[in-house]
């Protein structure tokens, strides 16, 4: 199934003889340049003044830097909620009715606890999922939004698209931390011996992840390619 298509040239071929292209085989035409509007949901192409795709009913939006406002808005919301997520306790542990120690643990606190216990692997996983990934996502989205639509080379564009795809894919996985807190709090209820309660940081962390996901979703990857020249040399 996979060997065949690889050997085959792409069945959708470039629009070679497009009127504005002029030359042979090296010219590419984008929907935007042709005065058309592509549907981001199903790919169908419509005249520029269409508001909604008649096939899949998705709203049509031009690849325009104005669309970045939504990206920035969601991103800032996500960053704001990430602050209390780190300052407030993620969960509260009580052992032996409070006599055996325990206490509040923030995200970083939890990671340090795990590291002290020698659970390095889990400490690294939790640190990656709840600190490195969210911050990496903020930085990546800020950078993508800043460079979107600016002139770039083809290699740059491929890189940026790749980073966008990673951000889009990885966004949901940050929710892991919230799930861990939920499972621990539901499960570790051994009365006097030990019990775990969720803290307010769980909610603000969940909101932060959700807002960042919305930010990544509102980013239009077509903007990455807008600054590129349409003609390219033949490979």
């Amino acid at each position: 199934m996979s060997a065949d298509p690889a050997a085959m040239p792409p069945p959708h071929t470039a629009n070679d003889d497009a009127p504005t292209g002029g030359g042979r085989s090296s010219a590419l035409l984008t929907a935007h340049r042709a005065g058309l509007l592509g549907c981001r949901s199903c790919g169908r192409v419509w005249p520029e003044d269409a508001m909604e795709c008649a096939r899949c009913q998705a709203p049509l939006t031009p690849p325009d830097r104005r669309g970045l406002q939504a990206v920035w808005a969601w991103l800032i919301a996500g960053m704001i909620f990430y602050i209390p997520a780190n300052l407030m306790p993620m969960m509260t542990t009580q052992s032996l009715g409070g006599l055996g120690g325990g206490g509040d643990a923030t995200i970083i606190g939890g990671v340090l606890q795990l590291a002290n216990h020698g659970d390095w692997f889990i400490a690294i996983v939790v640190f990656a999922a709840s600190v490195m990934v969210p911050i990496g996502k903020f930085v990546a989205i800020i950078w993508l939004a800043l460079v979107a639509g600016k002139p770039a080379t083809e290699a740059d564009a491929h890189n940026r698209l790749h980073i966008y795809e990673i951000v889009e894919f990885i966004g949901r996985w940050s929710m892991i931390d919230v799930f861990v807190v939920a499972i621990l709090s539901a499960l570790v209820q051994l009365g006097f011996v030990v019990s775990i309660k969720p803290g307010p940081a769980a909610a603000s962390f969940a909101l932060s992840v959700a807002f960042t996901m919305l930010s990544a979703q509102s980013f239009d990857p077509r903007l990455i390619w807008r600054g590129l020249p349409l003609h390219r040399r033949k490979e």
């Binding site: 199934m1 065949d4 298509p5 690889a6 085959m8 792409p10 959708h12 071929t13 470039a14 629009n15 497009a18 009127p19 590419l28 035409l29 929907a31 042709a34 058309l36 592509g38 549907c39 949901s41 199903c42 790919g43 169908r44 192409v45 005249p47 096939r55 899949c56 009913q57 795990l114 889990i122 939790v126 564009a157 491929h158 698209l161 889009e168 949901r172 929710m175 892991i176 931390d177 799930f179 861990v180 939920a182 499972i183 621990l184 539901a186 499960l187 570790v188 209820q189 051994l190 011996v193 030990v194 969720p198 307010p200 769980a202 909610a203 969940a206 996901m213 990857p221 077509r222 390619w225």
Partner: protein
């Protein structure tokens, strides 16, 4: 109606635009097993597979059955010093039910249980008539669009990884018993992966259209 290879640069008929980079391509009907990639960014535009609809329906029904089991069977149980505590999936969501974070309970139930189940149901609704070569149901377009929109928000497979991490954290503290609901969720991951390899939304949009719904007069027809 558009004949293969014909296109109109004024109205966009017979063309498709890459959703990732906006490059225009002339639309062609693919045969099963072919993959169409964008000439500019290399992203996959379409990848129809024979029997995919039937497979997706089967996997979606499997998802619903497993989800049903996962809700009603015990999920996890720990014991230590003769004290035990078990929890179901609802118990996990209810962990957040106190105080200001209560809305998180609803959100959690949504992303773990409700959305995956809803997506499975919508997929069956969309594809059931198409797999049997009948015209699609009335709301197929809206149903499939909703399925696509909910895709990033159904997080059943992330939940199970979260469970694994929680288990390692508790591991030293107490003995853990896995309930049937836990195994149902593990199975869901594989169902999900299989589903992903069969899903091709372009093909489904084409099929909905060829089936006669939401026709915008642009579906491709066989050359006469």
């Amino acid at each position: 109606m558009v004949r293969p290879g014909e296109y109109d640069l004024q109205t966009g008929e017979g063309l498709i635009a890459c959703p990732r980079c906006d490059a225009l391509h002339v639309e062609e009907e693919l045969t099963y097993g072919e993959t169409a990639r964008c000439v500019r960014c290399g992203g996959i535009l379409a990848r129809p597979q024979s029997g995919a609809f039937t497979q997706i329906i089967a996997l979606a029904i499997t998802t619903m059955v497993l989800m049903f089991g996962a809700i009603f069977f015990p999920f996890l149980e720990i014991s230590r010093l003769g004290m035990g505590h078990g929890t179901s999936l609802f118990g996990v969501a209810m962990a957040f039910s106190e105080g200001v974070i209560a809305p998180l309970t609803v959100a959690l139930l949504g992303v773990i249980v409700a959305l995956p189940a809803l997506r499975a149901a919508l997929l069956v609704y969309t594809l059931w008539p198409l797999a049997r070569r009948r015209p699609p149901y009335r709301h197929a377009v809206r149903a499939f669009r909703l399925t696509e929109q909910l895709k990033p928000w159904s997080m059943a497979e992330i939940f199970i990884i979260g469970t694994a991490i929680a288990m390692v954290k508790v591991g030293g503290l107490a003995t853990i018993n896995f309930g049937p609901a836990f195994w149902a969720f593990c199975a869901l991951i594989f169902v999900n992966l299989a589903n992903r390899s069969f899903m091709c939304s372009t093909t489904i949009w084409d099929a909905i259209e060829d089936g006669g719904a939401a026709t915008d007069g642009r579906e491709q027809v066989e050359p006469a």
